[in-house]
């Protein structure tokens, strides 16, 4: 089986006219695990996903971790909370250790700043950290692709809230130019993971980056927006399961 997948990946790599590694930011898609109705996410699924990556010759490289923090406004009158952003999110990404990202999802604003902005927010005392989620796991190299598979856990807990997967294509920074090859990769991935008969699937819902003023050329701001949207989708998914139970 692994010989077949090697051949397919070699075809993808040789097909790609942009094979030279991009000197700018390679693009990525962030997927989240959507459990089937009636099932929940668990560590066994995470193990199966990791094994699937290794079965298609993904070479384990090391650990990765991203953190997403929900900030809440400190208000003198809680009755006026509707005047303030519903979701104010801060994100740290492993590929940008000196940067921090803020996203206001409903205002469609994304900001990239030095990580010292967190100290400024602490000094302002107008917004405080409410909940933080860690996205962490292992990363794998597959030819011109880099995969990261990770669990989603609250920062002070080991309760598994979700599973995410990043698929990064190293040679290209253009979202438009990369569409076909990313879809071809995902078809291969789906074929591999489906054989494990897991109760769910990975989903990618691409945000409208232009709403945030982001261009076709991929940046870490795009990644920050993806993580914001994935988190809201994960939360909705968890709430749907809880509603179903009730």
């Amino acid at each position: 089986m692994s010989v077949v997948y090697c051949h397919i990946f070699r075809r993808l790599i040789s097909y790609n006219p942009y094979r030279k590694k991009s000197t700018t930011m390679p693009l990525k898609r962030v997927f989240f695990w959507q459990p089937n109705a009636g099932s929940t996410v668990n560590s066994q699924i995470l193990n199966e996903v990791s094994q699937c990556v290794e079965s298609i010759n993904g070479v384990k490289e090391g650990r990765w971790k991203a953190t997403l923090t929900f900030y809440k406004p400190m208000l003198r009158d809680q009755a006026l909370s509707a005047e303030f952003p519903r979701e104010f999110i801060g994100i740290s990404l492993p590929e940008q250790p000196n940067k921090y990202y803020f996203v206001l999802r409903f205002n469609k604003i994304v900001l990239e700043s030095d990580s010292s902005i967190q100290l400024i927010m602490e000094k302002l005392q107008s917004y405080k950290s409410r909940v933080a989620l860690n996205f962490e796991g292992f990363q794998y190299q597959l030819g011109d692709f880099q995969l990261r598979v990770g669990k989603v856990v609250p920062s002070h807990s080991e309760n598994l809230r979700g599973i995410v997967m990043e698929v990064e294509y190293l040679p290209i920074s253009s979202l438009e130019k990369s569409k076909q090859i990313m879809e071809e990769f995902f078809d291969i991935w789906q074929d591999a993971i489906s054989k494990r008969s897991l109760p769910g699937r990975f989903i990618h819902i691409e945000p409208d980056f232009s709403d945030y003023g982001l261009a076709d050329h991929y940046t870490s701001q795009h990644t920050a927006v993806q993580y914001t949207h994935v988190t809201s989708q994960l939360i909705a998914s968890v709430q749907a399961v809880q509603t179903g139970r009730n």
């Binding site: 208000l75 003198r76 604003i109 900001l111 000094k123």
Partner: protein, 218 residues
Amino acid sequence: MCCSRNYRDTDLQYVEALEILLQGLCGVNKERLRVHEICLKSGPNLGFVASEVRLLCDLEQSEPTWTVKHVGGALRGAGAEQISVLVRSMVESKASKNVLRLFYALGYKLDHELLRVGITFHFQRGAQITVTVSSVNKMLKLHATDEAVPVTPGIQLVEVTAPATSENYNEVVAAVSSFCEYLAPLLHLSKPGVSTGVVPTAAAAAASLMSDGGGTTL
């Protein structure tokens, strides 16, 4: 933290002489300064105490760059009064161009805005020192930097600042104070908020500097 002293000049001739003096003392070329400073304050309901943040847009670059700046309280107490330099906490962060939209969306309001235009020197002399000579201008229309007018015509602000940590601020204070002594024949710098007058030797010092381009030792 940052340590600073400043001075208000009243004569454009002194500014040119100061520029010559600084060029000689700093050993580096001057850089042009054109910074749009937007001061934001938290809205009435936001935060249990009011907060203020400054957004600095460097207009001198081909592509304007933004910095978020928080200036905290000054060092206090008997010890602080003995220090000839103002020591206060400061945090800066570079940010992308959406920063003003972000802070407006978070509930911050425009308090005032300024345009600083002038020159600046960055050099190492016991500490990483920055000297800025600038006019402070106000905008007659919102964000209209092309239509700014001086707040106090003919008056320039001279600032000498240096970053410090809580461990080394005494050394930095000494470096800033020592550097300011070199400017003494031309101007006297003091802590922000303490007004100074023109030093008696200013006219002679300025004339000397202007006559031979700074070759004369003051």
